[in-house]
Amino acid sequence: MEAVAFYIFAVLITGLFLITAMSKNILYAMSSLAAGMVLISGLFFILGADFLGAVQLVVYSGAIMALYAFGMMFFDATRDVKEKNSSGAVVFLLSGLSAVILVAIFAAPSIGKGIKPLVTGAAGVDNPHAIGEVLFTKYLIPFEVAAVMLLVAMIAGIILASKKMDKSLSEVYVDALPEVEEKEQK
């Protein structure tokens, strides 16, 4: 039963992410990315990582995709993206090779025989409970650092996005265009 669910999820995720990586339309790419992330949380639930699945749903497909959706309002999302692609076969070969090598390097130790789990968490409790105990004992300092990092990122996002907010975007856009053209002529 788990295998059936895994294969369905795997095929769907691969297809959706292929659409994300290949599509010419930003809107299609973003929606397929969001759908793929929802399905990835399904994989986490199969693995028994309930808390991680819930976080994936809330943070990734909730917050991050909403952020992208809001960010897209600044850009022209209805037009197709024109991209000049050269040597597609080389790109695919290179990316496939490097990904396989990377995954092999980092996953090879985990397939080995003599591995003992270091952080097992409390026995006999469900996954969110165990995660909470480990997160607030062994990983407390990284947790606090992550909190500070999120605060810094929030302030940076506000400051970066609010520059020249008093001018309308089309106004700035018209001002900026001649500069680019002059640069190209030089």
Partner: protein
Amino acid sequence: MTLTLTHYLVLSAILFSIGIAGVLRRKNLLMLFFATEIMLNAANIAFAAISSYIGDLSGQMFALFIIAIAASEVAVGLGLLILIYKKYGTLDLDKFTVMKG
């Protein structure tokens, strides 16, 4: 037929290579960001799978921190994208070439 760790690692490798291919061939900055998200998610799958099959919670912790890092990366990155769009009026990477070589 039972699921093994290899199933998840193969899926993770496939998704990761899709992400790398996206990063290498995309010329639009926003699409480039989407491709990096795909790579982060592939790494998350591998972490969660290894953590679950070995019985060690550290992998899930790492995946949690990766998600936090991805969230802050998107916040800062989108701010920068909006600035770039205001300056150049486009998100095409080929238009940003300043150096003549």
